[in-house]
């Protein structure tokens, strides 16, 4: 240990004092004198010099504090706050840092532009995705006590299908049997009703029957009417604001009368119901899993057809009391349902049979948290389309990647420029700046650029939002940005970006020892060259993966569009709501057939592009088949004899239904998948019995059906799914008329059909669609994903290229002298441009190499969701490679050429 030297210790102590502003020499002398007095005193008391020094200085306040106190004596400022210190609310020197940062930003405008533009672009992407993610995850969070509110759903014994609906009896049993349940709500969504007000008629698709619990559980807010009584009477009805406006304009809707019927033409008025409006509720926000326009009370138990435990027709919501164990309740509910179902069956089919049936057809009940329904529920009978949690996760990842790409640009440009400000750093160090001060200075600069980029990004996000909404079909609004939670997350991203992008450059920039810099020993721009290369490779790896993904998605979707789904989807017009014709559909069919361009027309409940319309029949077994043979769950289509020709499907064995054969009403045609399922060689003429009536309804007694033909497999669901077993029953339904046209002149055909329609039911709305549109709609989600991915990929490429452009410009500048010498020695412009280009193109080539396996794995994963897929081939990788190489080439070419054509005299004079 070195011996203690009092003089040098005091000297050090004085140095610290001198550093403090406002401590004048006389002050320090006085302080020193006091210190020495004290030390001498302590030494005379027997302390060593070192101990005395430490003791005497230990109790001294910090130099800054002493300086501050001295300043207070002299200042005229009332607060006495020293002018050299930052205001207490601001970190020290922030104002100074900001000033310097602003000056530097202005001095290097090109560089600042690249940085700000790149960051702003990536932050715009992130904001959009954040808005989307927030919208998707915000579903149903606004209901009261939402954490205690659940929906009952069941996993069916049939193929384990999840069902969102339950028996309407369940809610009553809940309230009666389980004290832990606070309230319940039954909702039945009527998908299509016709509302008459005086002479006017409206088709409504969002009509609910619901209990009054809706005001408590689902936060339906009345703007007119009383929630206590609004749904009390059987003929009360409440309307959404939007609907009330549509019906009555500015007239007060309360106590007005509306008539609601199942069909538009009420020949006998049998289904007409007269309601009186008792309330108007606020339009439901977009982020809820079900929307209503009209809500009528849930009907009281019917005496003619009592509700059954085995029917699934009601959405049941319930709210539990605090601290209820959900699992326990679920077990109890399951037991209750099992017991009640068994009782019901015993009454109808006898004890023994009931037990065996119940054993086989037990549906498993489960609860869904209200907030989880939008993203995590994948059930039948869901009233509205749901979101997809995979997309939410996927886009979040894309957002992070794009943000990183933007930050990489920043890091690269900043470290590349390290040399240009090395001299400044050196001077600062020599004049006493510490490393931490320099780091703070650079961080402030990053912060400034980030803030500017964020302001730009917010504006850009506002501008792009309508476009993004068009792409996704969502209704996102920028005012979601104003929510405190969102602002907080944006702020967090801002800080994250500043730190991510600024920290490393700040340390690199502040690192060179001042002596080396000032002597010119630091090679300009050499700092972090390896890292820069690695980052560019990383950046382009991400970009190439995104690009391959985009290419694959579009290729797959093109493939699907072109793939023969087993039926001819072109030139088929679908007329909806055929039941509006009442009993006249056959006559309508004849009328339409009179138009020469109509090839055929089929009345059906199941066009192949409406997968939700297919029914499911469980436990089908061929008559005479051994008991041990497989019983099958099959899809059911209700069609007529014109269906197969109209749809352009092929019969591979047997024959189509014939009008001339009366027995064909109990004939069926199956698809190849069903034929495989039955696993019997000759199926023609085989029979099976199911409890299906002539109108497609479930009957008590089974009817026997005969198989007369096999149709070639066709896709009646999305091409994501394999073709499932299907049975076509010869039972025309008045739902759709599928019309095959000879012509492409759909407009003329449509005019004719409309005139025919108006002949039968004048004034009723004619709704139609084209089958190929329906087919497209099945793949809309995938197409949307593809488009969004495409756009973000494009932006990613743009950001990456901005970075490359900046780097190339810098490299060219840095190598100015080298280029001059090369030219003097006889290098051609081409050789020099090649030299600069090679450096970057090589990096991109590396990125392609790394991206290929990653993309391959991800693409395989995505394709696994489809039953029919394209191959991931070299063309795909080749295309991605070609695109990435050519755009990166384009980004650096300009700089390379500029450097190559500069006159050597100029480059040699440089510096």
């Amino acid at each position: 240990m070195a011996t203690f030297n009092l003089e040098s210790a005091v000297g050090e102590w004085k140095k610290r004092l001198f550093k403090t502003p406002r401590l004048e020499e006389s002050h320090v002398v006085e302080l020193e004198e006091g210190l020495r007095d004290e030390i001498e005193d302590l030494v005379s008391e027997g302390m060593s010099k070192e101990e005395a020094f430490l003791a005497a200085t230990a109790e001294k306040a910090s130099p800054e504090m002493i300086g501050g106190e001295f300043h207070k004596v002299r200042t005229r400022r009332r607060s006495g706050h020293p002018f050299w210190a930052a205001p207490p609310s601001m970190p020290a020197l922030l104002g100074h840092f900001l000033k310097i940062a602003w000056r530097r930003t202005r001095r290097h405008q090109g560089y600042a532009f690249l940085n700000i533009a790149g960051l702003a672009l990536s932050v715009t992407c992130v904001l959009m995705i954040l808005l989307y993610v927030r919208h998707e995850t915000s579903y149903d969070r606004f209901h009261p006590d939402v954490e205690r509110t659940f929906r009952v759903a069941a996993k069916s014994h049939i193929e384990g299908i999840g069902i969102a609906t339950t028996s309407s009896l369940l809610a009553g049993a809940f309230e009666a049997e389980f004290p832990e349940v606070e309230s319940t709500l039954r909702v039945r969504c009527l998908n299509r009703r016709f509302v008459r007000i005086g002479q006017r008629m409206f088709k409504e698709t969002k009509v609910w029957l619901a209990d009054a619990g809706i005001f408590d559980l689902l936060s339906v807010r009345l703007v007119a009417g009383n929630p206590q009584t609004a749904l009390a009477g059987p003929n009360d009805i409440i309307l959404s604001e939007r609907t009330a406006k549509k019906y009555f304009g500015d007239v007060d809707p309360l106590r007005q009368t509306v008539i609601i019927s199942d069909t538009a033409v009420s020949l006998d008025g049998a289904t007409d119901r007269v309601y009186q409006i008792t309330g108007v509720f606020r339009d439901m926000p977009s982020n809820t899993h079900l929307h209503a326009d009209l809500i009528a009370p849930f009907p009281p138990p019917s005496t003619t057809s009592p509700a059954k435990w085995t029917s699934f027709d009601t959405l049941t919501y319930f709210k539990v009391k605090k601290e209820t164990n959900r699992e326990d309740l679920q077990v109890k509910v399951q037991a209750l349902i099992d017991a009640r179902t068994l009782e019901e069956r015993e009454a109808s089919m006898g004890k023994e049979k009931a037990a065996s049936v119940s054993e086989k057809t037990r549906d498993k009940v489960f609860f869904q948290a209200l907030t989880s329904i939008h993203l995590h529920s994948d059930l039948w009978d869901e009233p509205e389309p749901r979101g997809n949690v995979l997309y939410v996760a996927g886009f979040s990842v894309v957002a992070v990647l794009i943000l990183i790409i933007g930050c990489v640009n920043f890091i690269n440009l900043a470290t590349a420029r390290a040399g240009t400000c090395a001299r400044e750093v050196g001077i600062r160090k020599v004049s006493g700046s510490s490393r931490s001060l320099l780091v703070r200075q650079f961080m402030t600069e990053t912060g400034l650029i980030t803030v500017l980029a964020f302001i730009l990004a917010l504006a850009a996000a506002g501008l792009c939002l309508p476009f993004f909404n068009g792409l996704t079909g969502l209704r996102l609004e920028l005012n979601m940005l104003a929510q405190p939670g969102f602002l907080l997350s944006v702020l967090a991203i801002l800080v994250l970006v500043s730190v991510l992008a600024g920290l490393y450059p700040a340390f690199v920039l502040s690192s060179p020892p001042s002596s080396a810099v000032l002597k010119g020993r630091i090679q300009r721009g050499s700092a972090g060259r390896g890292l820069r290369k690695a980052l560019v490779v990383f950046q382009f790896t991400v970009i190439v993966v995104l690009m391959m993904g985009t290419l694959l998605v579009s290729k797959q979707l093109r493939y699907i569009r072109a793939k023969n789904p087993g039926f001819d989807k072109e030139q088929v017009l679908l007329i909806h709501d055929l039941f509006l014709l009442g009993g006249q559909s056959a006559a309508f069919k004849q009328e339409v057939l009179r138009w020469p361009e109509v090839l055929s027309i089929s009345l059906t409940g199941n066009p192949p592009v409406r997968p939700d319309a297919a029914g499911i029949l469980g436990g089908l077994r061929l008559d005479g088949a051994p008991d041990a043979s497989r019983s099958a769950d099959v899809n059911v289509f209700l069609v007529d004899e014109d269906y197969i020709p109209t749809m352009g499907m092929d019969i591979v064995r047997g024959r189509n239904f014939l009008r001339s054969m009366p027995t064909d009403s109990s004939a069926v045609i199956i698809n190849e998948a069903a034929a495989r399922l039955f696993g019997v060689e000759n199926l023609m003429g085989r029979r099976f019995s199911v409890r299906l009536g002539a109108g497609g309804e479930i009957t008590r007694d089974p009817t026997t059906f005969t198989i007369i033909g096999v149709v070639r497999d066709f896709n009646f669901k999305s091409l994501r799914d394999t073709i499932e077993p299907l049975v076509l029953f010869n039972m025309p339904r008045n739902l759709f008329a599928a019309i095959r046209l000879r012509t492409n002149n759909a407009a003329a055909a449509l005019d004719f059909i409309r005139s025919a329609w108006n002949k039968f039911v004048p004034g009723l709305p004619l709704e139609y669609s084209f089958q190929d549109e329906g087919f497209e709609a099945l793949h809309r989600a995938d197409r949307t994903t593809g488009r969004i991915l495409g756009n973000f990929t494009f932006l990613g490429i743009l950001i990456g290229c901005l970075g490359l452009f900046g780097l190339a410009a810098f490299m060219a500048e840095q190598r100015t002298k080298e280029i001059g010498i090369r030219k003097v020695l006889g290098a051609t412009a081409g050789a020099i441009a090649g030299l600069l280009i090679k450096e970057f193109v090589l990096l991109v080539a590396w990125a392609n190499l790394i991206a290929a396996p990653i993309a391959f794995i991800l693409m395989n994963k995505w394709l696994r969701g489809f039953a029919y897929t394209v191959n991931i081939d070299f063309g795909l990788f080749g295309a991605a490679r070609a695109i990435s190489l050519s755009v990166s080439l384009a980004a650096v070419l300009h700089q390379a050429l500029r450097a190559a054509f500069v006159e050597p005299v100029k480059s040699l004079r440089y510096e």
Partner: protein, 112 residues
């Protein structure tokens, strides 16, 4: 343990009364206070100086650089007439406070 504001408030009359007994300098004042208070009042010598400067600026004391017996420069402080007057006022003020406090604290003691 004394509160900061109390120390600050008491500093003025203490310094003035010390200087009334003759000129003194920084460290001696600190030491004097420590001794007189029996160690309960511990001033930071570094923070004494700004107070001295303020008193000087207010014209209550004045200072003079002198050579110490060790040959170092030492700043000595002495009281001015204004200082004496101020001390009288301060003494009055503190006596008042003292009397009031004594009464209140005694009753507080008793009731406790």
């Amino acid at each position: 343990m004394q509160s900061k504001t109390l120390i600050a408030a008491a500093a003025k009359p203490i310094i003035l009364s010390i200087l009334k007994g003759g000129e003194s300098y920084g460290y001696r004042i600190v030491k004097r206070v420590r001794e007189e208070s029996g160690g309960t009042l511990e001033w930071s010598s570094a923070l004494l100086y700004p107070v001295m400067h303020r008193l000087e600026k207010d014209g209550l004391i004045r200072s003079k650089w002198k050579l110490s017996e060790k040959g170092r420069m030492r700043r000595c402080y002495m009281i001015t007439d204004a200082g004496r007057k101020e001390l009288a006022v301060e003494t009055e003020r503190w006596h008042n406070v003292h009397n009031v406090l004594r009464k209140f604290l005694r009753t507080a003691d008793a009731s406790a």
